[in-house]
Symmetry: C2
Subunit: 265 residues, 2 copies
């Protein structure tokens, strides 16, 4: 983020985007989309975020494309946040950690997104594996979709919210680490006001910027002092500039420049 | 379940189980494990439940094994509940639905598990796709792990619990459907007492039976009238009988017979 700016460029091979790029909704179309996006973004931005669901749609051949995307992005110097939102318990949580957070795995990423419905402590195998290998985890905390507050604003036994418990747990894991811990949160750009402490001394992955309404001003208002730790994540808006590689890169660069003031660049 | 009994046989190719079966922790070992389990279980029990994490560990080649498992299980007449615990919003949730609940997909299953951290309504694309194709969804509600209650017992704005909101939402979707709706819940066998109404007029996937402590008696006590809709899910206990196919099948049959009284067989 210091070197390249804060933007995390989403790689969402959505069927409608494949169509808009003149590609077919099949494995060759997926491969062309993924490699074009990597070529456009991965030499420029700090992080790319492939959305696993769009690769899983195409079965094992789609996952093989994801493997090639991961290798190609790494070669060009971008970190990869693999958006998988996994969560499970015990040895199954460990298996997800093995799958994505161990550099020896075929699908090794720099970080994954994780879901704490089984309790944030159930994700310990992911945290421990990330710690061991210098990788990271972004845990869902507060999302912008209308159904999110049902769970995320629910009150835990200590009187706080579920989201607050997730954030506090991350802050504890990151305490004292400089410049920033490896355990981040996913917090939507358009959640409105919140009384939660978003400064977890870790990175904040913030979807919903750009086309979905999050601006530099609104992000600064919501995140306050934590704004400097934000990876604003934009997918559809920048991908709409494709399939031309230069146009994609320029769209990403514009978004990156737009959010640079947040991190004091 | 009427024809074969209630058991859902887990297929968890855990590294320690691969080792115990004399197999290597690689793709050929995974394939041998998966196909042995299918041969042992899928002609006998109502449902098998492969745990996706253990296939994802091996990357795209592991997912290709999962594809072959799905096809082989279907050929032998077992339903497949693919344990993926996916959850996302909007078009990404739709992509997961496309990936697993559409019979045309390479990874098509009969049902998946899903996680409602983004609100149970965020899973609508999964419910709608399942409705359209005659497939099903099991949503996490109450789990037995010690960290689970932090989120699942948290109080929503209407004074109920998060788990209660999930269960009510499933009951609404299943209302009036006979003999049973397609939208089930995941409820642990060892959650202890609960005041939630577990009868959602849909199937209940119940891990934690057998080695983990759930017995016919304890299940009947927790689930009451909903006991007849239970798919008790056993993995490690029956898999420990391997790699001999006949021994595995007998272990599954014993577990199946043990829980048959629950469903009035």
């Amino acid at each position: 983020m210091d070197l390249r700016g804060p933007l995390c460029a989403g790689i969402d091979p959505h069927p409608s985007l494949l169509h808009a790029w003149g590609l077919s909704d099949d494995v060759p179309g997926l491969e062309r989309f993924a490699m074009t996006a990597v070529e456009a973004f991965a030499g420029t931005v700090a992080a790319v975020k492939p959305q696993s669901a769009f690769f899983e749609r195409h079965g094992s051949a789609g996952i093989a494309v994801l493997e090639r995307l991961l290798a190609a992005a790494r070669e060009r110097g971008a970190l990869v946040v693999l958006d998988v939102k996994r969560g499970d318990i015990g040895s199954t949580a460990q298996a997800y950690a093995d799958a994505y957070l161990d550099p020896a795995a075929p699908l090794a990423a720099d970080a994954v997104t994780a879901s704490p419905f089984l309790g944030v402590g159930s994700l310990d195998p992911l945290f421990e594996t990330a710690e061991k290998h210098g990788t990271g985890v972004f845990v869902l905390a507060l999302t912008s979709n209308p159904e999110g507050p049902q769970v995320q604003h629910a009150r835990t036994s200590d009187g706080g919210t579920v989201a607050g418990a997730v954030l506090r747990s991350l802050a504890q894991r990151n305490a004292g680490v400089t410049p920033l811990g490896s355990f981040g949160a996913v917090v939507g750009a358009t959640i409105g006001e919140t009384s939660e402490d978003l400064d977890v001394n870790g990175p904040l992955l913030v979807p919903g910027v750009g086309a979905q309404g999050g601006t530099v001003d609104s992000v600064r208002r919501i995140f306050g002092s934590a704004s400097r730790h934000i990876l604003p994540s934009s997918s559809r808006e920048i991908l709409a500039a494709g399939p031309d590689v230069r146009a994609l890169r320029e769209a990403a660069q514009r978004a990156n420049d737009g959010f640079a003031p947040l991190v004091g660049r």
